[in-house]
Symmetry: C2
DNA sequence: CTAAGACCTGACGTTGACGTCAGAGGCAAG
DNA sequence: CTTGCCTCTGACGTCAACGTCAGGTCTTAG
């Protein structure tokens, strides 16, 4: 086994990140602008990402879908990466959790109402 | 029992509707503009609403929270009021239902991820 | 070498549900 | 009558997460 070079994880360009995560190239640039996703640069200035960037962007999408803002996501990223938190961060995490839970409850209530409408209108065509 | 006049349900003004439903006066006007909520007018031009308007506005809020647009709500209002639907409307109702259900699932997934983060960071302070 | 894509940096446009401000009436109390 | 609060009609502002366009550079298949 040669001791020469560890297999350098091949970096990917922005288009591949975007396609992999199912978002636009513009969106990926936007995430960088919001401080969510840093990129190396090639000598010519093109952004280069590790493969994990794809999963990371998917995570962003999931959080956006949950109603978090870029700022919220930026705040909770250090918690995830460092694995430890101070009191303020824990409070923030719990607050976001409560917000989402409340939203789930709201949606469930809306769903119930819609189901009621559907039931009524289906049995009275 | 006098046969004179049925107790006229007292109409309320826009401010009371807004306070009752927990939204702004501007929002109530906006709903009218979107064709969601009609109002009588006093001789001087002020909007007058029945009490049920409050509940109706709450319903709007619930639907907005579920991610429906004003247009969506406007489309499903006739279904609710008439109590019957054509095929297209039923399809629309089901589609919205699916959208909301998908959103609930997304939120639940986000919640699970957040819970995981919270758990890890709580046990590693 | 060359043409087609992919990528770059600005920078303005979009969408939805309102917020906000201006200017002008209404309306009950004192 | 006037003070104070509510309401009216426009009409422009906001905010977030991008879309889109312009004009130029890079990379890669052939």
């Amino acid at each position: 086994m040669p001791v020469t070079e560890a297999a350098v994880a091949p970096l990917i360009r922005i288009g591949e990140v975007a396609r992999g995560a199912g978002v636009s190239v513009r969106a990926v640039r936007y995430y960088e602008q919001q401080g969510l996703l840093a990129a190396e640069r090639s000598p010519s200035g093109q952004r280069l990402y590790a493969h994990e960037a794809v999963e990371r962007v998917r995570f962003f999408q999931q959080m956006y879908a949950a109603g978090l803002t870029s700022r919220n996501i930026a705040e909770l990223l250090p918690c995830i990466e460092s694995g430890h938190t101070d009191a303020e961060q824990r409070a923030m995490l719990r607050a976001e959790r409560e917000r989402i839970q409340a939203k789930v409850d709201d949606l469930q209530a809306a769903l119930d109402r819609l189901d009621h409408v559907i039931e009524v209108t289906d049995t009275h065509p």
